[in-house]
Subunit: 337 residues, 2 copies
């Protein structure tokens, strides 16, 4: 980075070539780390490039090359678990020589728009973190591009899904709570969130198994803090609280905890709260959240590998990679009063 104050224009490969006294093609070759240039020339070219402040233009690169070596990642920036996943994806993509482009949903920007942005960047494959789009849309997307979904299952679609065995995690949580002596265990549903349907089903099954079908109850919700707050309001408006709540995910659990605390309800003395995800925040929060651990590092790693494999064998039928979850008991749960 230095003088280089050409009026407006940013330096291009030709500038570097001219300055270094070689052809543009050779500079290209050197910047691509391709063999065929002497060590001496290589160094000189890099030196000149640094001097005039040359930076390769991704757009031009993308346009000219068939492979962009880029993966598109769709996430929800608010979701702390997604942050864990992103870190894992970067690490693995680096290893495989792939770049990553991020696109997030925010309240003013829906999934389709965020995905369009990724495709506009010519990503070779898409990795979607818990997508909420319709199955039809995702199926069609999978037909046109290599797609990997984390957590969200899309039956019979031509895309790979990486997720944890939801049912197993829920069963562990319910078994644990029942073991502690709980009977009134309610579940806050994740709505259309990824894995929610499976979790709800597993919750019902587990309650039935323990002969607690009558005590089971599902409050509708979603995967945000708000739904936890809302569930708390619903519960507080009633005569008696349940002794334990299995939240849709960690964010929902945090919202619930906050609202319960505000209302003076003691956790875990009066109510036990269990989350789902084990995002790193859960571990760190003031009173560590009891939650079902999903291995983000492994999920991200597998997703990237699957995505890259799909770029090489596009027509592969959909695969499902399932990891085992694991209950992490911390401070927000215990025996009922």
């Amino acid at each position: 980075m230095a003088e280089q104050q050409r009026p407006g224009r940013r330096p291009t490969m030709s500038d570097v070539a001219k300055q270094a006294g070689v052809s543009r093609a050779l500079v290209s070759l050197i910047f691509r780390n391709a063999p065929g240039a002497s060590e001496q020339t290589r160094e000189r070219v890099f030196e000149v490039a640094r001097e005039i402040g040359y930076r390769p233009d991704t757009a031009a690169r993308t346009l000219a090359s068939s492979r962009t070596k880029t993966l598109g990642v769709l996430l929800t920036i608010r979701n702390p678990f997604h942050a864990d996943l992103v870190e894992a994806c970067y690490a693995e993509a680096d290893r495989l020589g792939f770049d990553i482009v991020l696109s997030t949903t925010v309240p003013t920007r829906d999934e389709e728009r965020a995905i369009d942005a990724l495709l506009g960047h010519r990503c070779e494959a898409l990795i979607l973190f818990g997508p909420k789009a319709s199955a039809a849309y995702l199926t069609q997307l999978g037909r046109e591009y290599p797609v990997v979904s984390i957590s969200r299952r899309v039956p019979d679609a031509p895309l790979d899904v990486v997720h944890t065995a939801e049912a197993k995690g829920v069963r562990q949580a319910v078994d644990y709570l029942v073991g502690e002596g709980h009977r009134d265990i309610i579940h806050i549903d994740g709505g259309t969130g990824p894995g929610s349907a499976e979790r709800k089903r597993a919750y019902r099954a587990a309650m039935r198994k323990h002969g607690l079908a009558d005590h089971g109850r599902v409050i509708p919700g979603n995967h945000t803090e708000d739904s936890g707050v809302h569930a708390a309001e619903v519960l507080l408006a009633e005569d008696a609280l349940p002794t334990a709540v299995l939240a849709a995910n960690d964010r929902c659990a945090l919202g619930l905890l906050g609202a319960l605390h505000k209302a003076g309800v003691k956790v875990p003395q009066e109510v036990s709260v269990v989350g789902y995800d084990d995002s790193r925040v859960a571990m760190l929060s003031h009173i560590g959240l009891t939650t079902v651990h999903q291995n983000a590092d492994e999920l991200g790693r597998l997703a990237v590998r699957a995505a890259v494999e799909r770029t090489e064998t596009p027509a592969m039928p959909g695969r499902e990679l399932v990891l085992d979850p694991e209950l992490r008991v911390r401070g927000t749960s215990g025996p009922p009063r």
Copy 2:
């Protein structure tokens, strides 16, 4: 989105043009929303595009046009406050007709690399969330591109800075704690984190103002949860705890809270904890964190506006936009024992 199963190739503008029986130029014009096409043709072109699954290629667009209408945002995906800022930036960028490209630092990817990625995408301006790079680097960057920094001040550099009045926020926090009766108030420093130097200075000044210079103490740290955990270890190894801790930011405060809790220290009874940022999580966490509120919506909005203005008037000298912070007293603070 439909059949369109051309072998490998994705449809281009020419495909749309051919199919619709018009020239490529007209299709281009229509997709750019430029005037000069009849309503009838416009609709037919869109119809055909949808049918064959055409998506404009961002790379080609970028390459061909002088303006990319894109802003690059550098963030740390782990930082919940950054999530708040991202949402605000998207909203404002949308309003001004700009796109946003995100690039995050992760443990395996440093700031310079993340910034290079943004510049490779030909962003017209960069918005850096609390950059930690050297002043020299940022100054040079500001000379070459329109740059806006949030929170991190870079004296005399040709870039805009949007931040809150750090000193004022810290003063409010210290005044409040002293008012509650605290005397042993320590500060966990944010190290090279944005605003840290100012906060430390303001902390010292405020303590002096209250005649508590002797009670002041700064523990080195940074802007992650780890530094809070570490500070807790340092404090717990000593004879007596302070009665209040002013953390570097919310993440640091959360780490501290977690570690104190693990050690059986009661908050706020034994120790009061105050954060900084007021990221939405702070509000939601189990016991709401007392913290210094920064208006993320406004910070993001101003940053985007400044960035766009800079793309239009590149040579502007550096400006500083300062917002007022505001102490939010919640559950982690109170009078000392």
